[in-house]
Amino acid sequence: MSFEILEPGLSTTVQDLGRLGYYNVGIPQGGSMDQWSAELANAVVGNTAAEAVLECTYLGPRFRTTEAAVIAISGAPVDVKVNGENREQWTRLELAAGDEVSFGFLQSGTRFYIAVRGGIDVPLVLGSRSTYSLGSLGGFKGRKLEAGDIVPVGQAPATATAGLDGIDTAMRPIFTRDQDIRVVCGLYDHRLTEAGLDTLLSSTWTLTPVADRTGLRYAGPAIEWKPRQQPFGAGSDPSNIVDAGYAVGSIQIPGGKEPIALHRDAVSGGGYAMVATVISADMDLLARNAPGTKTRFLAVTMDEALSARAELKAVRSRLWGK
């Protein structure tokens, strides 16, 4: 069976848990930007966490199913319509052959997810179905969906469960325009002046419209780097280093202006010093933030980051009942 794409939306891509293990040659992890939302949608339709979903950015697609299908919509709040009639997010939607699904405007956030029982069945590339658009790799023909695409849907295994009867409000993600993000300082933070690091951690930053799967850029005050005689090969600005690997979630401040936090489609390296890294437990929060979101970066220790990670893992275990 398949979904016929009538209108593609702004940027609709196939994503899953991501593609680890190829960052050393510049292929990013990719995967659903808001992993938790994607996972919840999969749980509702009776998939495992690993099935591929459609990630829709701001403006969703319009599509028709060729056969009966079970879908669920999660993530950012959006009006869902089946054959023009309003339906709910966070619950199973039973579609009949020929049914048409469409969406209204996002009420907040940035991305919503469409899971289908059996998963989006594009070929695995390097172990993942995620789309890496820049490298034209994975997903549906390595790119975002276009009108006329016929997107294959997989067959659910006989062992699959029916899925969850909806998601408790308490488990659903929160979409806010006032966000605290926890970071671990390190990498090249010693290259900032004391005042510079303090500015990063005590200011309220505004997420700019320059925010996509690669990274998010923030507006706010200038941040001071320590002046120095630049080392050979590092480039002329004090924010430059000899090109190095970029941690996913790391924050760089080119020229001391507008910090950038790298996300799941990060470029794997470059010549800007990173000074802190968003903890793994807060990466989904970044993914949900819309431009204009007031953001504070709060420094935590490695132990605190690991505790937050453990808490998230416990919630995930409860979702899957293990």
Binding site: Y22, G26, G142, P231, G235, G245, S250
Partner: protein, 304 residues
């Protein structure tokens, strides 16, 4: 001849260990770029990969540093750091620093119409608005002409010091003494477009853009054959879609339009194969007499 250069002696036990959140360990070998720092980063990365510690997902060697991704649920951060430090000690103690690698010939059409056209579109705000990137590069290096710059560019081989930024993009460091290194500042403001396979340069690094996209390196020419082949159509990509590996040694061969087009036809009909030969790279020899050693390495290609 000493097995250890002063440069690698200086870098013993001096790596800086720091965390990139709860999933990344970053190890800076040196603040400055050098052959010795790159060699140490790559040696540590190889040893760490060979050890295959459960919980390590990515080992990414870079120019003068390495980045390790790990799953802290499987591998305790302190344990990972201890393992990496033990590897550093081993690498520092190695008697003879060699690397089994290959030399590859990359045909390049210098001063080609594709990068010239793109360069012309991004002239305003460039360091040299009334010339080309090649003119600017020649001037920055005190050379008389673009032609002289081009000849220096393919006159000595380059070491692939890092692969990344985007899929399969090699950073390359010319294997000559520091005072002979070509250095060119990056664009003041990055371009939004770069032709695929552009041969670029920023700071002391050459690169080949594997895909079309944004870029900040000056543009000198275009490589004639792909270096990233997701469909794995060509012989050189049978095992993996990415051609370059850190440690590869590259020699650029200038080609004219006719030869460029001939190679393009070979790529199209699937018969193109890169000219390459295995070599054992010896760091001490390379540092002692670079020009003689480079000639010796290049000789390997002549028997192919």
């Amino acid at each position: 001849m000493s097995a250890h250069s002063a440069e690698s002696e200086r870098l013993k036990g001096t790596a800086r260990y720091t965390w990139g959140g709860d999933e990344f360990l970053f190890i800076e070998i040196d603040e400055s770029m050098s052959l010795a720092a790159n060699f140490k980063a790559n040696s540590m990365a190889s040893s760490l990969s060979a050890r295959a510690l459960p919980g390590i997902t990515d080992v990414c060697p870079a120019n003068a540093s390495l980045l390790i991704r790990f799953d802290p649920d499987v591998l305790d951060p302190a344990e990972l750091e201890a393992a990496a430090r033990a590897i550093e000690t081993e690498v520092d103690a190695a008697e003879h620093q060699t690397l089994d690698t290959r030399i590859v010939e990359i045909p390049v059409w210098y001063d080609d119409p594709f990068t010239r056209e793109t360069g012309a579109r991004f002239r305003s705000g460039h360091q040299k608005p009334d010339g080309t990137d090649l003119d600017f590069a020649a001037e920055s290096n005190g050379l008389a002409s673009a032609a002289e710059f081009i000849s220096r560019h393919h006159g000595s081989p380059w070491l692939v010091s890092m692969v990344g930024f985007v899929a399969g993009l090699p950073f390359m460091f010319q294997m000559v003494p520091r005072e002979e290194q070509l250095e060119v500042p990056k664009y003041l403001s990055p371009r939004t477009d770069t032709p695929p396979l552009t041969v670029g340069h920023g700071g002391c690094f050459a690169c080949i853009y594997s895909v079309r996209g944004a870029g900040g390196y000056q543009m000198f020419g275009v490589a004639a054959a792909p270096i990233f082949d997701p469909a794995q159509r060509l012989e050189d990509f049978k095992d993996f879609m990415i051609f370059f590996k850190p440690g590869d040694i590259v020699t650029f061969r200038p080609v004219n339009q006719d030869e460029y087009e001939r190679i393009q036809r070979q790529v199209e009909d699937g018969t193109f194969v890169y000219r390459q030969a295995p070599v054992t790279f010896d760091l001490a020899e390379a540092l002692e007499d670079p020009h003689r050693y480079n000639q010796e390495i290049l000789e390997h290609l002549n028997v192919v």
